[in-house]
């Protein structure tokens, strides 16, 4: 299960360098929550960040050691790596308003 994780991550980061928005979604296997989260994320990104984003999915079942780095506790967790600062949103992202606030796409009001 320790199958060379950095090798998989690094190219992704390198590829992301071109994009303004680098998003990482942590999940644990294909659960209904993780599927919902991914679908919700994709929809929101298409609506607000079309063409400027990149989503990386990390399955902790396969790479448990990666959970430590981003301080993952709850799943699913969305981490906004770029633009800085790092932001975290937990849950299946079903509440779009909160996702937008979390991503700084809409001022908190």
């Amino acid at each position: 299960m320790t199958k060379k994780s950095p090798a998989r991550v690094k190219p992704a980061v390198a590829a992301a360098s071109g994009c303004a928005w680098n998003l990482r979604l942590y999940v644990a296997g294909r659960t209904s929550k993780s599927v919902t989260a991914f679908e919700n994320l994709k929809r929101i990104c298409e609506e607000h960040l079309s063409g400027q984003y990149e989503i990386e999915i990390i399955d902790l079942i396969e790479h448990p050691q990666l959970a430590k780095g981003d301080q993952i506790l709850a799943l699913p967790t969305l981490v906004r790596r770029l633009p800085e600062p790092i932001k975290k949103i937990i849950g299946d992202l079903s509440n779009t308003q909160r996702v937008l606030v979390g991503l700084d796409l809409r001022p908190q009001a």
């Binding site: 902790l60 448990p64 959970a67 506790l73 932001k87 849950g91 299946d92 079903s94 509440n95 779009t96």
Partner: protein, 580 residues
């Protein structure tokens, strides 16, 4: 204290996982329930984290059980230092894959919640940590911070319940720490989920003196000590001291131990104290209690045994200097390691902590004599009732180990002495009393034995003299003038001596008189005898003369007759003569 090194599996009981923490394994009969989570709760700064950390670290070093320590709060440098000072190098343990540390940071302000989630991430991390080093022990410290980091408590509660079940399934022995709540064991009621073993730590302040205590509230499937036990945190980590009244089962020996004062031994039927007995010396200030204690210490060390001296009033250096002036040199013994001082102010910490510290010292030093000087000062560190209970437990503990305990007790003024100590007198086997005797403008010390269980002992008051050669007990003067001590005793003795000499002189004179009288009589007798002799001689002479005269007369008559030529019948008177 017997260290429980192997997990004990009592028949029918549950398997135990030893913590390696002194005393805790004793209270819990072998440790925490193996393969189950245990809850450790208490207020802030009560030592939860240290205890949990010791559980994991001792597991790896003493029992070869790798452990995972998951911290939800940043570990303080102090704690890391503390662990390092215990001789455990956390970094090294991590490198050798004996220990996995994981710091889980959760900041509510940095996290947005949107929709349904679970704590699978924590499970994944835990699972990974456990599997990577094949951990047998897990600590979650303090998991309740999750409640402040996440807003959805319904999810949290369900997930915690799942977590504890999961830990059980995983077969690890887990310690979960939690903050104490208002009127509940934990702030968020975690005790509902962890029900196999609950331990409460407490840090109480009474009269500005702190005492740490530990109590096993619950231990499913196992007998355990239910009392509150004092514990201490020092450079060796946590020590729980199960000092309780073990009952009255200690063996009684008839072996004796010398008091270090020859006359005192004599007073105690000639051989000193009973080994393993409790001795109390009461007296007002300056009556020589410490000197007596030091004398006992010296005698103990001289016989090659170990003595532990708890000083609550003076520093060891001061005590040694002072008793050197009465000819007791303790320095060779402290250097040689037979005598150990432990000095602390009574107000340093609470009674229970004192007891715990003493207990620990005694365990480490293994003395055959323990001296507490003075025990009364210890009592100022708590309520009298507490003090009695502490002393009772201490004496019980020492008796169980056949250690002789010698306590000094400072008393105040005359009449109240016996009363004030009635509280502890029943715990005492031999009670000596040193008191001032004021007489003739000076103060002297008198000593007597108030009681001494199980031996014939003198009922006499002895004068207690501190000289350059140490302690001496002298007979007091008992005479028509009453009890005399000190100079009065010496004066009285001198007076008696003078009287005696005078008497002797008288006798000699009388003897001489008698002799001369006798001689006079003898002379008289001699004179009288001489007179008798003279008289006798005179009588003899008289008789002889008379006879001589008679015969001369006859001769003369014959001659006359011859000359007259008288015949034999010539005269009547001569007829008789002629017939003859």
């Amino acid at each position: 204290m017997p260290a429980v090194n192997k997990p004990s599996n009592p028949p029918g009981g549950i398997a135990k996982c030893p913590t390696g923490i002194v005393g805790l394994d004793q209270i819990t009969n072998g440790g925490l329930p193996r393969g189950r989570p245990a809850l450790l709760c208490g207020g802030a700064g009560c030592g939860k984290t240290l205890l949990a950390l010791e559980f994991v670290v001792r597991g790896t070093t003493q029992f070869d059980e790798p452990g995972v320590f998951v911290s939800f709060e940043e570990m303080s440098d102090e704690l890391a230092d503390n662990v390092r000072s215990l001789g455990f190098d956390l970094d090294d343990l991590v490198k050798r894959k004996k220990l996995a540390m994981d710091y889980v940071r959760l900041e509510r302000s940095e996290i947005e919640e949107s929709g349904d989630y679970d704590l699978e991430g924590l499970f994944v991390r835990l699972n990974h940590a456990i599997d990577s080093i094949k951990a047998k022990r897990v600590v979650l410290d303090t998991i309740e911070t999750l409640f402040s980091g996440l807003s959805n408590t319904d999810i949290l509660r369900a997930e915690l319940r799942r977590l504890f079940r999961w830990l059980k399934d995983k077969g690890v022995t887990a310690v979960i720490t939690a903050e104490k709540g208002e009127g509940t064991l934990t702030r968020h009621g975690i005790e509902e989920y962890v029900s196999d073993c609950v331990i409460v730590l407490d840090h109480r302040i009474h009269d500005q003196l702190s005492t740490r205590r530990l109590r096993v509230v619950k231990y499913r499937g196992s007998a355990h000590g239910t009392n509150e036990y004092p514990f201490i945190i020092d450079e060796e980590g946590i020590s729980v001291l199960p000092v309780t009244s073990v009952g009255l089962e200690h063996a009684a020996t008839t072996a004796r131990i010398s008091s270090g004062v020859a006359r005192l031994d004599t007073m105690l039927s000639g051989r000193g104290f009973f080994r393993g007995s409790s001795i109390l010396v009461s007296g007002t200030a300056g009556t020589g209690k410490t000197s007596l204690a030091c004398s006992f210490a010296r005698a103990t060390c001289q016989s090659g045994e170990r003595c532990l001296y708890f000083a609550f009033e003076e520093s060891p250096a001061q005590i040694m200097r002072n008793v050197r002036s009465v000819g007791i040199d303790l320095e060779p013994f402290t250097v040689g390691g037979l005598l150990s001082f432990h000095a602390s102010r009574p107000s340093l910490y609470g009674l229970e902590t004192h007891l715990a510290v003493m207990h620990k010292r005694i365990d480490a030093f293994k003395p055959s004599v323990v001296i507490i000087d003075p025990v009364t000062n210890m009592m100022t560190a708590g309520l009298a009732r507490d003090a009695r209970s502490v002393l009772l437990r201490l004496i019980d503990y020492l008796k169980g180990l056949q250690i002789t305990v010698f306590m000094n007790s400072l008393t105040h003024d005359g009449n109240t002495i016996e009363q004030s100590e009635v509280e502890i007198s029943s715990l005492i086997d031999t009670w000596l009393f040193v008191r001032d005797i004021e007489l003739g403008g000076e103060r002297n010390r008198g000593m007597y034995i108030l009681k001494s269980r199980g031996m014939a002992h003198s009922n006499q008051i002895r004068e207690f003299v501190l000289g350059r050669q140490g302690i001496e007990l002298v007979d007091v003067y008992l005479g028509p003038a009453g009890v005399l001590t000190g100079s009065a005793r010496i004066a009285q003795a001198a007076k008696e001596h003078a009287l005696e000499t005078a008497g002797r002189r008288d006798l000699k004179r009388q003897q001489a008189e008698m002799l001369s009288k006798r001689k006079a009589f003898e002379a008289q007798i001699a004179a009288l005898q001489a007179q008798i002799l003279a008289q006798d001689q005179a009588t003899e002479h008289l008789v002889a003369d008379t006879q001589a005269n008679v015969s001369r007369g006859q001769l003369e008559r014959r001659a006359m007759a011859l000359s007259r030529k008288a015949d034999s019948g010539g005269g009547r008177t001569n007829g008789k003569e002629s017939r003859k």
